[in-house]
């Protein structure tokens, strides 16, 4: 364990994974009392968030590749170790995960059906996500990768909307297909590395030393990338995502679904790119092309959706296109912009989904054609909606812009053409988001609609921190960018 | 041993094939059960023969096991036959297709 800081010696990273899991168990044990479960879940997520913030404050100036590291033998027979590592990248993503889970639990407050199980699944998911973002042993990573799949499957399949079965099955099959490819590539890499070096190991640090012939590198890279591309999602593999996001239960889970997308990008940054540097270098133009196709295809598709949640789902794909473009540009500015955009997009889109959930619970519909004139009925809710929509379309001074402009500035420096091709996305993003705003907030209110209550205190508690964060990250993202500088293996 | 081991094996094989034929050809559950019994007995004969041939007691131990098992099996299966007969009014094996895919 190397702690570069004054932090007391303690398995903090395991705590991040274990705490939500313990919370989930407690929730299941106390399933008689819904109220107890709610507070329990909230306390768990808050404690996790507090630890994350503490780690951020204590560790962000650490130097060396890892800010914190835990290592223990697990299955020595196969060279599998229990290794967790925290660097600038995972620090940001664990923070995001912990924060969004607090939001999710607060949003789940009014859930009626099987609340304890719902909360328990949310917490298990949090644990899985933490594991994904922290694991630096490939088998451990794969384990968590699959662990986060199951709670999501149940959350969509049990609490989802009308087409939940279809969405859940599709989500499951898609991601499973991807992870199988990754598993095969992982084992192949393990064997090749073992044959080469004589010591069989799944540790990332060991595997990084592997030198492979180019064809093998391409194949294995393809295996890893398939899993990550499906999760991210890149364009030909994206159709599970609008289904999953629009069917995921509005009360909380959908925010968290957004986090799954980040695991794809994270996987690329942490594993696929450093493990296969030559293949990565050759694949960057292809990656950029896919990113651009995704950016535009999703923006255009979003323009023709009538379901508010589907619009937001497509908007996620579109934004992640820009994130990916920043990675493909292979340039420090663009890369840091990508990570920043990933985090801010999580916050902004999470907030948008939360607002839509509040909207849905009031109006009973998510169809743009049946909404409208909301400003007159619930100005506070509408103002929040407008605020986050504007943040999402990249208004300068709000969170997304900071990431977007860094991505574009960096991309233009190394690949001017890519950046120029991405720029019209600004207009199309504005087009679908303004159509969304037009359809919900403006125009006459539908005649048949009953009076709509404005935001409650609990809902303000959810939104206010997100608003503050959106403004703060838009104006001063430097504290978040600082820990990224030391992340190894990238431009 | 008076009887050569080969004869015992041939006899057991014939007995086994007869039981198998019974199981395959007959449609009545009781007849199928009888066929199964015959096959089990064929196996028992082979085991006893082997035991005598190699002068080892293992085969006979197996046969004792086999007899105990067979009687238990027969008891249960006959009980089920009676139950099925009461419930469905028939013992035609092909009438029972509850496991059809």
């Amino acid at each position: 364990m190397t702690a570069a800081t004054t932090l007391p010696q303690f398995p903090w990273l395991s705590l991040l994974i274990g705490l939500p899991l313990a919370g989930a168990l407690l929730c299941l044990l106390h399933r008689r009392s819904r109220q107890e479960c709610r507070w329990l879940a909230l306390a768990t997520t808050l404690a996790t968030l507090a630890i994350c913030i503490g780690l951020f404050v204590a560790c962000r100036h650490g130097d060396g590749p890892w800010l914190l590291r835990e290592d223990a033998a697990w299955i020595p027979r196969f060279g599998i170790r229990y290794t967790l590592g925290l660097d600038g990248l995972s620090l940001l993503l664990t923070l995001l995960t912990a924060g969004l889970h607090v939001v999710a639990v607060l949003l789940a407050w009014p859930e009626q059906r099987r609340l304890p199980q719902f909360l328990a699944l949310l917490l298990v998911l949090e644990s899985g996500l933490m594991g994904v973002f922290l694991a630096v042993d490939l088998v451990l990573f794969y384990l968590f990768w699959e662990v986060m799949l199951l709670p999501m499957l149940f959350l969509i399949g049990i609490w989802g909307g009308e087409n939940r079965r279809r969405a859940a099955v599709r989500f499951f099959l898609y991601t499973l297909a991807g992870s199988l490819a990754m598993l095969v590539a992982m084992i192949a890499l393990y064997l090749l590395h073992g044959a080469q070096s004589g010591s069989y190991s799944f540790a990332l640090a060991d595997l990084l030393q592997t030198r492979l012939p180019l064809t093998q590198e391409y194949l294995l890279f393809g295996g890893f990338m398939l899993a990550f591309a499906i999760k991210a999602p890149l364009v030909p593999f994206h159709t599970w995502q609008p289904d999953a996001l629009s069917e995921a239960p509005a009360n909380g889970a959908v925010d968290v679904t957004g986090l799954l997308l980040k695991t794809g990008i994270y996987g690329m940054i942490r594993f696929a790119f450093p493990l296969f540097p030559n293949a990565t270098r050759d694949a960057l133009p292809l990656l950029a092309a896919l990113a651009l196709v995704g950016l535009f295809h999703a923006a255009w598709s979003a323009y023709r959706q009538d379901d508010v949640k589907r619009i937001l789902a497509y908007s996620s794909i579109s934004h992640l296109g820009l994130v990916l473009l920043g990675l493909a540009a292979w340039n420090t500015t663009a890369w840091q912009g990508s990570v920043l955009l990933m985090v801010t997009h999580g916050i902004v889109t999470g907030a948008l989904f939360a607002v839509v959930a509040m909207l849905r619970s009031r109006t009973g519909t998510r169809n743009l054609n049946e909404l409208g004139g909301l400003w007159g009925a619930a100005p506070q809710l509408s103002a929040c909606f407008l605020f986050f929509a504007l943040a999402s379309l990249g208004l300068p001074g709000l969170a997304n812009f900071a990431g977007e402009i860094l991505v574009l500035l960096g991309t233009f420096r190394s690949q001017p053409l890519w950046a120029l091709l991405a720029l019209p996305g600004l207009v199309f993003t504005a087009a679908y988001l303004l159509r969304l705003v037009q359809g919900t907030l403006w125009g006459p209110a539908p005649a048949a609609r009953a009076a709509i209550p404005d935001l409650t205190v609990r809902e303000w508690l959810v939104l206010l921190p997100l608003i503050v964060l959106t403004v703060w990250l838009g104006l001063a993202p430097a504290p978040l960018l600082a820990p990224l500088a030391a992340v190894g293996g990238l431009p | 041993m008076i009887v050569p081991f080969a004869h015992v094996l041939i006899f057991a094989a014939i007995l086994f094939v007869m039981g198998l034929g019974c199981v395959l050809a007959r449609r009545n559950l009781i007849m199928i059960l009888i066929g199964v019994e015959i096959m089990l007995n064929a196996a028992a004969v082979a085991l006893v023969g082997g035991s005598a041939h190699w002068r080892q007691v293992d085969g006979q131990v197996f046969v004792v096991f086999l007899m105990a098992m067979t009687s238990a099996e027969v008891a249960i299966s006959l009980a089920m036959v009676v139950y099925l007969r009461r419930r469905r009014g028939t013992l035609e094996a092909d009438k029972f297709d509850g496991l059809r895919g």
């Binding site: 323009y303 720029l423 001063a476 | 395959l24």
Partner: protein, 622 residues
């Protein structure tokens, strides 16, 4: 005094905007209104107070770092110099008066907090554009004014059309923003910084093709915000917003942001002759186009909107002709008299009972308040360029600048400018006659006009009339104050003999008189308005909206449909569903094997057994 205090100029309106948006509805109405007005007025006073900071090379103030990643470090920084100081003074001054007017104008509006919040936010964003020291801060303001424009055009959102006009304005200007952003990225790639001063200083080292490319990108960016061809379709529809908004955003300040941007980057822009020519062409063509459109408009605010477009076209022409001083002088005077005109138009619409159509007005000179007529007339004289008004001098300077360029292209543009001057006089006096002359045609009685809607017009009208003093040419004994003030930023020296100047001034006077005469002949007594294909063509802005709809909106909707339905549903989803169906069909076929008959299973069992046995036997034989 500390330089960082300069940040108070934009931040005070921002603070008031935030306060109004958050708590406006909880506060007493008077408090919210006072807050809004005081925020802007305080900025104005601060600008006056800090005036001396602009002397010499000006003052630069840094508040902190905005973005820092890799090689990009971008601070929040302001630049208060000879160019931005007068502009700041104009923006805050005009905005203060318009805020006061708005208090009167919106006195029946329920949702006042949103209105004043957005109006204050607009002032902040505009000041960010004006004072920005680097292009990213400018971009922040640039998008911010677009947002406020969007929110205020669609302020009366219950009518779908209003909100749609706002969306249209946002999207069309955003198209321009894409080009500005491209220029910004390119400049960053070239220089590694976004500081305007540094970029201007390094511009001389760029290749000519790069300079031309950058200039064209900047021009297109400016076109979006300033409603110049080809991105002009939004401005006329933007009149759906409340009148103070039209006065502030769509006449005095935001639409001139494009001109200001080109002036700000003039050291770069002026290095590219082709780019300068492009700017001048866009300006002259837009000026002429908008003037013809204004001839046939029926809504009073649309006439003014097209006139704004046309006047901004003049400013572009001035920049293209190399005269920043001319552009800025016209920008400032235009802001004064056009704001006065818009506010007077708001009064007229209010008096006539929310009547927009000038064909249904008439007779307001005698029936309406006298002072309203005078103010409107003052504004109209400035707009038409009547001798000795502010508009006369500033427009003359622009035409002179175009004329003295001397190349055939600029002579052609000068001709277009002259023609526009004639048309301007024509449509301006048409407006005056239709609204004020003759007998009332549509309204029965006049509504009351709140005091606050009357007197803020006077200072603006006077400033418009006297605007010539800003940059009075030496010809009539002036000192060209603005040009000297701008110093190195003023652009090309305009050299012309006094004879030429007198001739041009005489020509301009003649054109104004000609336009006035024609309007008087046609409209002094109301004889109905033409309604023929020609006038309808002009009324609909040369069919620009229909063209955009046909060439841009419909193809886009079709492509979007193709993506959402064609690719996602029909291609990707159908492929996957097909795969799933094939798998199910396989299972279906295998299912037949499980008949449920014990005999079948047994037979299968035996056959399998025999096959395995046979295989082993074969292996044994080998």
């Amino acid at each position: 005094m500390n330089q960082t205090l300069l940040f108070l100029i934009p931040l005070l309106p921002l603070a008031c905007a935030v306060a109004n948006m958050l708590f406006g509805m909880r506060l007493p109405r008077l408090f919210a209104e006072t807050l809004a007005v005081c925020g802007v007025a305080a900025s104005f006073l601060l600008t006056v107070l800090f005036w001396s900071y602009a002397d010499g090379d000006g003052t630069r103030a840094v508040l902190g770092t905005w973005l820092a990643a890799g090689e990009a470090t971008i601070p929040f920084a302001l630049q208060f110099d000879a160019l931005s100081a007068p502009m700041t003074l104009m923006v805050t001054g005009v905005a203060t008066l318009i805020h006061l007017y708005a208090v009167g104008y919106m006195h029946e509006e329920e949702d006042y907090a949103r209105f004043f919040g957005l109006l204050n936010l607009f002032v902040f964003a505009m000041l960010a554009i004006v004072l920005a020291d680097n292009l990213l801060v400018l971009f922040l303001g640039w998008e911010g004014v677009g947002l406020c424009s969007y929110g205020l055009i669609g302020f009366w959102y219950q009518k779908t059309g209003n909100a749609r006009a706002g969306t249209k304005a946002f999207l069309v200007t955003r198209v321009g923003d894409v080009f500005l952003a491209a220029a910004l990225l390119w400049l960053f790639a070239l220089t590694g910084t976004l500081s305007i001063g540094a970029i201007n200083a390094q511009a001389a080292g760029f290749a000519p093709a790069v300079l031309t490319g950058l200039t064209v990108l900047l021009l297109l960016g400016a076109c979006g915000k300033s409603a110049q061809l080809p991105l002009m379709t939004w401005l006329a529809d933007a009149m759906a917003g409340p009148t103070p908004v039209s006065a502030l955003i769509h006449a005095a300040t935001m639409v001139t942001a494009g001109v200001y941007l080109l002036c700000r980057l003039f050291p770069l822009v002026s290095l590219s002759p082709a780019g300068m020519a492009a700017i001048a062409v866009v300006g002259a063509v837009t000026a002429l186009y908008a003037a013809t459109c204004a001839l046939a408009q029926r809504e009073i605010k649309r006439v003014l909107a097209y006139s704004t477009m046309s006047q901004v076209g003049y400013m572009f022409l001035a920049v293209g002709a190399g005269s920043v001083a001319g552009a800025m002088a016209h920008l400032l005077t235009h802001a004064f008299f056009k704001a006065a005109l818009f506010m007077a138009a708001g009064c007229i619409i209010h008096l006539a009972g929310d009547e927009n159509d000038i064909l249904r007005m008439g007779g307001l000179a005698r029936r309406g308040p006298r002072q309203l007529f005078l103010v409107f007339l003052a504004g109209a004289l400035c707009l038409a360029g009547a001798p000795l008004t502010g508009g006369f001098f500033s427009k003359d300077a622009i035409l002179l600048a175009a004329y003295t360029q001397g190349t055939p292209l600029f002579l052609l543009l000068w001709g277009a400018g002259l023609l526009t001057a004639l048309l301007t006089a024509l449509y301006t006096f048409r407006l005056v006659y239709l609204v004020f002359a003759g007998e009332p045609r549509g309204y029965s009685h006049l509504h009351d006009l709140p005091q606050l809607m009357r007197w803020p017009l006077w200072p603006l009208a006077l400033l418009g009339l006297l605007g010539g003093l800003l940059n009075l040419p030496a010809l009539v004994g002036g000192g060209e104050w603005l040009r000297h003030r701008l110093g190195a930023l003023a652009g090309r020296e305009i050299a012309a003999t006094h004879g030429t100047e007198w001739a041009l001034a005489g020509l301009a006077t003649g054109l104004v008189l000609l336009g006035w005469g024609a309007a008087r002949w046609r409209y002094a007594r109301f004889r109905g308005e033409w309604d023929n294909p020609g006038s309808r063509f002009l009324l609909h802005g040369w069919g620009a909206d229909a063209a955009v709809d046909l060439l841009v909106v419909r193809p886009f909707t079709a492509i979007a449909g193709l993506c959402a339905l064609g690719i996602d549903r029909a291609l990707v989803d159908a492929t996957l569903d097909g795969l799933a169906r094939q798998t199910t069909a396989c299972g279906e076929r295998l299912r037949r094997l499980t008949s449920g008959h014990v005999s079948t299973y047994l037979a299968g069992f035996i056959w399998g057994f025999l096959i395995i046995l046979g295989w082993f036997l074969l292996a044994l034989v080998r």
